[in-house]
Each structure stands twice: as C-alpha cells, then as structure tokens.
Symmetry: C2
Subunit: 266 residues, 2 copies
DNA sequence: CGCAATGTTTTATTCTGTGAAACATCGTTT
DNA sequence: AAACGATGTTTCACAGAATAAAACATTGCG
C-alpha cells in the first residue's frame, strides 16, 4: 500500500531530521551534517540558521560547529502527558545508576522496534554506551524482550513473522524458544539476559506500569558480564524492580499531570 | 536596517513556532492553534502531521488534541553544551523547591530580555505560576535584575535607553535609581525584590557562574510576600546562594561535558 | 433533528525552498 | 611563503512544493 496521502511537509521534516542528527552526534559542522543527511550544504546552512534563530540549535562561534540549543531543553520541561514518564524516571534513574555504577536505560516500544528514551552512563571505565533516541530490535536485549513479553499478542506474532537477526551467538532466534522466553519473563515479572544483543554485556530489566497496570516501559541495568556475579545479580535485580515500582507509583500518583495555568513570571 | 539577508526558511520557522505554542499551552486542537498563530487550519494540520510522524508531538486519539511528544524529551536529554546548565540545575532546583516549598526559577538573559529556562512549582496552594520558555523584562523581577546587573554595560545602557514599563507601583523605572539598584546587587552578590514585577510577590535571586567566573544565569526562590518574614529571608537567601554555588561548581567540574561515543544499546 | 464548530481533504496558484556553483576564509602542507 | 584543500557563506534561477481557500466529513450540542 503506497500511502496515497502524504501530508508531510518536506522542509519541516528535513529540519527535524537535522535535529535528530545533532542529537546523535553533537558538535557537527555544516559539511559533516550535509554529508550524513544527504543534503546540500546550502540547505543545511539555511536550516541551521532558522533553528539557531529560535535557539533550537546553538553554535560554537569559534569553531562554527552546532549542537542542540537550550530551547529544546525548555520544551523538554514542558512536555504533555508523554513527559510524565520521563519526569518520573529521571531522578530514579540517577539513583539507580549511583547505586549500581552501571548503565541505566529507559526503553519503550515504538511499533515493532524498541526505543531508548533516556540513559544514564555507568561509572566504570569499561562500559557499554547506549544512546537516547535509538531504535533497536524487540527480540534481543533485556528491556526490549521484556517489552515484547508484555506487548499485545499481535505484536509478538508480527515480530516473530519477520527474520530474527542474531546479534551474537547467544541471541535467541528460534521462534518456539523465544516464545518460551517471553513466557518466562511474564512469569518472573523481570528479565535478565546475557550476551544476547552485545557480546559481553548483561542486562537486568524490570517493567514500568501505568496506572491501569499496563506495561509501558522498561528500566534496565546493563554492564559488562565480567562484573556480573551471583551477588550483583541479586542486588541489581532488586534495585531494578524497586526503581520500576517507584516510577510506576509516581506515574499513578501524579496521574494526568499538572498543567498549571499561567499567571506571570518572576 | 532592514536586514538584507534572510536565510530563514519559513516552513521550518512556522513549525518551530507551533512547537513553542504547544509548549505554552498543551492540549490544543488544530483550530485553536491556527487562530493563535495566525495560520490556516490546513497548514497547522500538515505541520502537526509532520511533527507527529517523528514523535515531536503526540495527539490524544480521542480528543484530537495535540501536545509535545516524547521525542522532544529525548532530544532534551542529549543537548550540547547548552544542556550542561540544565543538567546541573535540575536536581538542585528540585532540592531547593523541597527545602523552601516555594517556586524556583532558573533564568538566563536572551538579548534584552530574560528567559525562563526551567521552573519548579512551589507546594503552597497560593502561589505564583511561572512558565519555562517565557521571555520577560530585564528591569524587573529578582532574577532578571540580577542578570542585568552582571550584564555587559552596553546591555544596561540599551535597556535603560528604552521605555521602562512599570508592572506595579513598586517597579523601579527611574534610571538613576535603577543604576543604584544594579550597583547594590553587584555589591551584595545577590538580589531580593518585593512587588516589583508581580504585586504580592517576592523573589530571592543568586548568580550562577560559569567556570571563568562570568554570570550566566540566576536561580531564584519566589513566592507570596505574605509568607516572607525576616527568618525566611535569611533561610531563602542562604538556600539560593548555596544552590547557585552548587550549580556553578557542577558546571566547572563537568567542564565541556561528556559526549560518549556510541557503541550499542541494551 | 438541525445547527455550529471542528477536523480532514482537495485543488490551483504562487512563492519559496532548493541545488549548483561561485566566493570567502580559514588552516595545513609542501 | 605560496598553493592547496577543506569548510562555511552567498548568490541565483527554476522547479516543485508550500500555501490559502473552499469543499467535505464528522462530531457534539442545542
């Protein structure tokens, strides 16, 4: 079905793509951006100018390199209901990272992909890097599998109907086995994986639920397998479950969220 | 001077204006947005579609009303150096709000205006509302005046050359007197105002400095004057100064900021 | 039951976004 | 020191895309 209606307006879409490219890799110049986006330099230049005038990007005057600007941070402070999860999660993620010294990831499902909403980098010098804003598979990775386990059955079917890439020798690509894995996740209420997405990495994931009990996101502790022993397994799991519970609770309490009417500013 | 060069691309600029309108007031429909922005409905409709496809806005399927989407929150997690201030300030603002139960505002200067980067709402039922993303004057308000006091002299001159609106009977609009006020702020290293921008409101502001010592922002505690006594004056001032110092320190420590290379995701 | 307001779609016209290429401004290399 | 190469900036002409207007659909309200 070649969607007959396309209301997308190209110029705007390009600008958004540019913003995402800058989020992906900050401190880029015009040429670099043009190349990686397949746009011409003049176009990128104009887009950046437009974005800069509104503070959505800022440039280092010396080096003529651009990064995302403060105005985006401000918008991020004023999200609609989509922001509730981020708000609730941020301090909890900070605490979880400090407690474990490992990477912490907040992941949601976006169609048939996983999507990293936010991350906290661990304190170890040898560590994995995850990046907010990245799409990943649903059939591998601690948080992703957990999301898949709690997703609508039709989603599971669709995912299983597609080719399942093996990211490492330990990735579960056998359909029947994968369904068992999902079953076990639901039974346990958490998910622990080793080496299934990144070789040498573990991930301990717990489900975050909305007020109506639906699983809407996962929070996970991830790091290098070499640091993962029986004791850490226990403490990380408890920490992740506690964190997930706290975020879930915050979401339920605040409910629809506060949309304070504006009266003035100080 | 009618700027001869205008590299702004209109479609993109309109999209950004739309985002800011949504930040200003979430949960708006097409018509409402079109009216407040002076655009046609079809245009707003297309812009929203484009933004929605990338997750920059999300819509309540029932009510067909739009709000800012999660993707903006994700970008907000990955700001360039502009984000350092927000990162450093967020937890400190939370703590300051909890300590005082009053509104907390993070304000920067944007040309000849003040700009609210972030706010934390106080816990009192009678309270002022401030809103992130709002421009305000430089010559009134606790944080604004403090920023003006530390701004380049040419900025002060320009501001004083313009008409100074009196927001309340207590707003200082006399040029000479205003210069004295700025002088006193610099001498004190903080600023406390009553009723100068909002009648019945106080504001206790302290300067946030970058690593090189320049004042780049202000953090302020604000609330209703009826709750402002000698004791609170002292505790709020100390709390604000401490908070400002801590943010400044965080900024200096983290320096250029961490731009972790991406390897994978979990 | 009908009216009013809102969201959605279509279409024609204009104007704007676009790419190509020239220009300027560096920093680097030989 | 001179020439080169890479990058950011500007110009310009044209195609095509953004836009306004108006028709259509849908919903809620009186």
């Amino acid at each position: 079905m070649t969607e007959p209606k396309d209301y997308k307006i190209a110029a705007v879409d390009r600008a958004l793509a540019l913003l995402e490219a800058l989020a992906d890799r900050p401190e880029q110049g015009v040429t670099s951006l043009a190349k990686s986006l397949g746009m011409t330099k003049s176009l990128v230049f104009r887009l950046l100018h437009t974005l800069e005038e509104r503070g959505f990007v800022s440039r280092d005057p010396e080096r003529a390199e651009y990064s995302l600007g403060y105005r985006i941070g401000v918008l991020g402070e004023r999200l609609g209901k989509d922001g509730a999860l981020l708000y609730a999660a941020r301090p909890v993620m900070d605490a979880l990272r400090d407690k474990t010294s490992e990477n912490v990831n907040l992941v949601i499902r976006e169609g048939l992909k996983s999507y990293v909403l936010a991350t906290r980098a661990g304190y170890h010098s040898i560590r994995l890097f995850a990046q907010a804003g990245r799409n990943g598979p649903l059939h591998a990775g601690g948080g992703s599998l957990l999301l898949l386990a709690y997703a609508d059955p039709s989603v599971v079917d669709t995912v299983l109907a597609q080719p399942l890439e093996a990211f490492t020798p330990h990735t579960v690509t056998d359909r029947a086995k994968l369904r068992q894995v999902l079953e076990r996740i639901r039974a346990n209420g958490y998910n622990i994986v080793l080496n299934d997405l990144d070789d040498g990495a573990f991930s301990v994931a717990a489900p975050i639920r909305s007020a109506d009990g639906a699983v809407i996101a996962s929070i996970s502790v991830a790091g290098a397998v070499v640091r993962f022993d029986e004791e850490r397994r226990e403490t990380y799991l408890k920490a992740a479950l506690d964190a997930a519970a706290e975020i879930s609770e915050r979401l339920s309490i605040h409910g629809p969220g506060e949309n304070g009417r504006v009266k003035s500013m100080a």
